[in-house]
């Protein structure tokens, strides 16, 4: 039912129906925003990326393959935009790692945050930065898509274009790095 509704909206959008496009944005912008925040660790940048992503959806809807989930296609656009944004930020010296106070960062981040108490987006951003901010780009991307965005390996494969083996390898190293970091900073241990 949802699929049919989506197809109907997309067909209307492809005919240039602006009302349908507004409906499409209202339905999917939250998905795009969640992913963008988790990758960029910045609400402002994420809002901007979401806007840019939907402009690209409008421009390139004729390239959309209906056999792929619309969310998967949207995630691919958002991911590419986020990576471009991260690279640009890196070039301009804005490094989103756990030692640097970057865009939207809390000027005085706590040195030890209890994950269990984290509830807000700013908590999430601070934790992701602290835990995964300086992971290599691919590891961070795979970790975000799989563990934070809760996508399947196959969806991660479609979004990133990586092979399943490569995804698993990057996931393996990302989780190992995170484990070390969580162990020393948040006291997450093997014995609950």
């Amino acid at each position: 039912m949802q699929m049919e509704k989506n197809q109907d909206i997309l067909a209307r959008v492809s005919r240039g129906d602006m009302t349908a496009f507004g409906e499409l944005v209202r339905t999917y912008q939250s998905y795009a925003y969640r992913l963008a925040v988790r990758i960029l660790c910045s609400e402002t940048e994420a809002e901007d990326v979401v806007q840019e992503a939907f402009v690209r959806v409008w421009r390139n809807l004729d390239r959309y393959n209906p056999e792929v989930l619309f969310t998967t296609w949207l995630y691919r656009i958002v991911t590419n935009l986020c990576l471009d944004r991260l690279r640009a930020m890196k070039r301009h010296g804005v490094i989103l790692n756990r030692r640097t106070s970057a865009v939207d960062a809390n000027p005085d981040p706590p040195s030890a945050v209890d994950i269990e108490k984290a509830v807000s987006t700013s908590d999430l951003i601070r934790l992701i930065r602290t835990m995964a901010g300086d992971l290599p780009e691919t590891q961070r991307l795979v970790f975000t898509l799989r563990d934070l965005q809760d996508l399947s390996i196959d969806e991660v494969r479609q979004i990133t274009g990586l092979s399943e083996a490569s995804i698993k390898t990057n996931l393996h190293y990302a989780r190992r790095t995170l484990r070390e970091r969580m162990k020393c900073e948040y006291g997450v241990e093997g014995n609950p």
């Binding site: 944005v25 969640r34 809002e47 939907f54 402009v55 393996h172 997450v188 093997g190």
Partner: protein, 238 residues
């Protein structure tokens, strides 16, 4: 499974990351290896912590404002209705019509084309109507004309002195007066008289006459065809 192999899989804590056989072998190894057991437990614990992070869902502060911002950008940056080749061509054509000279030239061109088209269609319709009318009529009986011209008739109808003189020469051959010209098709009298058969007859009637003389005779007869027909009631032509 040994510890090295277990370490390769031990971080895969979530569903679908290992096959059933790998999952079973890892579980068996972890059950008997305390070091791997501790490491596996650490990863599972980490997974629970990450799950907590996953449950924090970032939300837009003002979703409708974001929608409006996107729609505004789309309206500004992208021309509407750009899907498909035809639409793109129409857009381009409309853009070209912004130039006044092109607009007037196109208007004239379209007017001429439309007028030409209408005239052509009317002509075709009239032709078709005429054809239909002709086909609707019963077939007319075929007219078969037969001419027979005797030397006497030729003598009467021509007023050319040259031909008259030639015909007088032909007087010695009156016995050939029974020779007749026959034609069974309704063609022009010129064609009729100019046929090889007719010319042979004329040569026979007028021995010694040159080709040029025969040509003149034929032309004269052709011009006086009406007289031939008129005369035919009296003598020699039926």
């Amino acid at each position: 499974m040994n510890c090295a192999e277990a370490k390769r899989l031990i971080a895969f804590t979530r569903k679908g990351e290992m096959g059933p056989a790998e999952e079973y072998q890892l579980a068996e190894h972890v059950r008997t290896c305390p070091a791997c057991q501790a490491e596996r437990a650490a990863f599972l614990n980490q997974d629970r912590a990450v799950e907590k992070l996953r449950s924090i869902v970032p939300t837009l502060k003002n979703p409708e404002a974001n929608v409006q911002a996107i729609l505004r950008r789309v309206r500004e940056e992208v021309p509407p209705q750009r899907q498909g080749v035809v639409s793109a061509l129409v857009d381009r054509l409309i853009g070209a019509l912004e130039v006044p000279g092109l607009r007037y030239a196109l208007a004239v061109f379209v007017t001429v084309m439309v007028t030409g088209f209408v005239i052509q269609q009317v002509t075709i319709l009239r032709s078709v109507s005429a054809l239909e009318a002709r086909l609707a009529k019963p077939e007319a009986p075929r007219i078969r004309l037969a001419y027979a011209v005797t030397p006497g008739a030729v003598e009467h109808l021509t007023r050319s002195e040259e031909i008259r003189a030639m015909l007088e020469k032909a007087g010695a051959n009156q016995e050939l007066g029974s020779e007749r010209l026959h034609a069974t098709r309704a063609g022009s009298i010129a064609d009729l008289l100019n046929s090889p058969e007719s010319r042979w007859v004329l040569h026979t009637l007028l021995p010694g006459t040159r080709e040029r003389g025969i040509d003149s005779l034929v032309n004269e007869l052709s011009r006086n065809v009406r007289l031939v027909l008129t005369y035919s009631k009296g003598d020699g032509v039926r």
